[in-house]
């Protein structure tokens, strides 16, 4: 069983739930940016929820199936077609040998997750099938998929055609999007006013938004507390001695454009960070389109932990369907 890539879309890559354990060497976790969506897609087609699927951003790929398969597409709202016939999202549907899966223009959200019964069966690299393109690691030959590739598919499990994830268990960002942030790390570098402004302003997703990080524009420039630059940090007030970057951390080089690091994060660098997006909201970032108005909402640790539990309950409710 294989899937022939007739068109790759914009940037479509094989992703699972990532490869923990190598961030200390600069190899990030990686994996689906919207993990809930990937898990749901896998469960719908009878896969282990961490099986490898395809993540496509903004534009869907065109895929031909060499054998019958159960398929599910979750995440962003992008019309799905099999030989021109529309299929519902967040729902298991059959694709027959020789049929072609295509997509129309994206409506809302940013990334779709395509799961196929059996999972995309590329070799494991450091314990994961996720594509880390910067390091030419994992996925299909260490890169996003391309026209002419034949993606291997594993052995299918049991799945029920027509099974779907109800609307109330799907999660997507609001408008404006709200991302909850725990201030910390080098928050003390900001003046009180800059700290207030950051949370008051409405920002917009910049075009520079990818698996490594999401950049934002439109808020007021952040001012820093005066200091003598520490040795090794560099002279800009936003510089620090190069340190680790947490996933979800928000750095603001020069105080102008915040960047949230995501699944393919660089593991460290020399810019101060004002805080971190809480784990419960990381999936939402992967569904933000450029120009989406975004508010950062200040929360404390207890709120972050409660939100994490709520999200875990949501995933459990999805699992309970199967």
């Amino acid at each position: 069983m294989a899937i022939k890539v007739l068109h790759q879309g914009l940037a479509t890559s094989v992703q699972d739930l990532g490869r923990p354990g190598y961030f200390h060497l600069g190899i990030p976790l990686g994996g689906a940016m919207d993990r809930l969506a990937l898990k749901a897609a896998n469960l719908l087609v009878g896969n282990d929820e961490g099986a490898a699927g395809l993540e496509a951003v903004f534009i869907g790929p065109k895929l031909e199936f060499t054998e019958d398969a159960m398929v599910a597409v979750t995440g962003a709202d992008m019309p799905i077609k099999v030989d021109g016939e529309e299929k519902p999202g967040w729902t298991a549907f059959k694709v027959k040998a020789g049929q072609v899966l295509t997509f129309d223009f994206l409506k809302t959200g940013a990334r779709i997750y395509i799961a196929v019964s059996g999972g995309i069966d590329v070799p494991l690299a450091l314990g994961s099938r996720s594509t880390y393109a910067i390091g030419a690691l994992g996925g299909f030959k260490g890169r996003p998929i391309a026209i002419g590739d034949e993606l291997p598919v594993g052995t299918a499990g049991k799945a029920v055609e027509g099974k779907f994830i109800p609307e109330n268990l799907r999660r997507r960002p609001g408008m404006p999007a709200e991302l909850r942030v725990l201030p910390g790390l080098y928050w003390h570098r900001l003046t009180d006013e800059a700290g207030r402004n950051f949370f008051e302003d409405t920002w917009k997703v910049a075009p520079e938004a990818d698996r490594m990080g999401y950049r934002f524009r439109g808020g007021r420039k952040l001012d820093f507390v005066d200091r003598v630059p520490p040795f090794g940090a560099g002279s800009d007030p936003s510089n620090i001695v190069d340190a680790c970057y947490p996933y979800g951390s928000i750095q603001v080089p020069g105080g102008t454009e915040p960047i949230i690091l995501h699944r393919d994060a660089v593991s460290g660098g020399g810019y101060f960070m004002l805080g971190t997006v809480i784990s419960a909201d990381m999936d939402l970032i992967g569904q933000l389109q450029p120009h989406t108005p975004t508010r950062f909402v200040k929360v404390d640790m207890e709120t972050a932990l409660t939100a994490r539990k709520d999200r875990a309950v949501l995933v459990d409710q999805i699992r309970a369907l199967f």
Binding site: P20, G21, Y22, F23, H24, L25, G26, I27, A125, L126, Y132, I134, G135, A136, L137, G142, L182, G184, L185, W187, P230, F231, G232, A233, G234, S235, N239, I240, V241, D242, A243, C244, P246, Y247, G248, S249, V266, S267, G268, G269, G270, M273, G275, T276, V277, I278, S279, M301, A304, L305, R308, A312
Partner: protein, 291 residues
């Protein structure tokens, strides 16, 4: 100075050992991360040492952030007492300084540089008070460097020059980062040297290129068969200037699987080093060359 503890969201504990860079700060970070690894705190999923700080990733479903904070703080006392001595590796890395590939790249991005008329080497030599590029290269390759962090992307080493602070090479990063840097470029930004493990964006000044791969996801390079990343924090690096002929030969040796970087095991004692830096470095060089 006391360590500063702060959370990076609900999954990371970030600890700053010192605001400024020094080998003492690096050793504090190293002894803390070693202590944390050995204590096997439940719920810890990743331990990432950095230059003068470190980061712990944990699973808050397994351990509450308050509890991991307490556990890590408890290690601080013991770590402060630990000897600043490590057994590590010293490795010789050949460098073709002023090579045509980084030269072509730096010319392509000249408008992003502080000094549009010169080269990165000429600029770095001048602002560090060296009379010529040759003198600068002699200083760059004359002392060993400590790998104080591995990261940014795939196995990239940050290296700290093992000389007195007033002799350390310091250069600003490019005014605006480049969108391209040749793979295996030897660069420098702030007080840190680096080797770009993969081709890509970068802001460090570019001094030369090494023929020695330091990251190989295919694991076909002879000395990267066991693991795809060469460097580990605590490694000591000595650069060896080579010319075009030696560079081409080394590239061919790498391709044919017969390139073997000189690597020796060595004990490093920070206190002994601080007492007589030049003398200690001469001894390290002796170990490297087997005397």
């Amino acid at each position: 100075m006391p360590m500063r503890y702060t959370f990076g969201g609900d999954e990371h504990l970030f600890v700053e050992c010192s605001e400024e860079m020094s080998l003492e700060a690096f050793f504090n970070s190293l002894s803390m991360t070693t202590g944390i690894r050995e204590s096997k705190i439940k719920g810890v999923t990743e331990i990432c040492p950095a230059n003068a700080s470190f980061q712990i990733k944990f699973d808050p479903d397994v351990i509450h952030p308050d509890d991991i904070l307490k556990e890590v703080q408890a290690i601080e006392v013991a770590a402060a007492k630990s000897e600043p001595v490590i057994t590590t590796r010293i490795v010789e890395i050949p460098v073709f300084y002023n090579d045509p590939w980084t030269h072509e790249t730096l010319m392509r991005f000249r408008e992003r540089h502080q000094e549009p008329t010169g080269t990165d080497l000429e600029y770095a030599a001048r602002i560090n008070d060296y009379g010529s590029v040759d003198d600068f290269v002699a200083a760059h390759s004359g002392s060993p460097w400590f790998v104080s962090m591995v990261g940014f992307v795939s196995g990239l080493p940050f290296m700290y020059q093992m000389v007195e602070r007033q002799r350390q090479i310091q250069v600003p990063k490019y005014l605006r980062p480049r969108t391209d840097t040749p793979r295996l470029t030897v660069g420098h930004g702030g007080c840190f040297g680096c080797i770009y493990s993969v081709r890509g964006a970068g802001g460090y000044q570019m001094f030369g290129i090494t023929p020695m791969p330091i990251y190989d996801p295919t694991q076909t390079t002879s000395y990267l068969k066991d693991f795809m990343v060469f460097f580990r924090p605590g490694d000591i690096v000595k650069f060896k200037p080579i010319d075009r002929e030696a560079y081409d030969q080394a590239v061919e040796d790498v391709d044919k699987g017969r390139f073997a970087p000189p690597i020796r095991e060595v004990k490093f004692d920070l206190r002994e080093f601080q007492k007589d830096i030049d003398g200690y470095n001469a001894k390290l060089e002796g170990v490297l060359h087997g005397h």
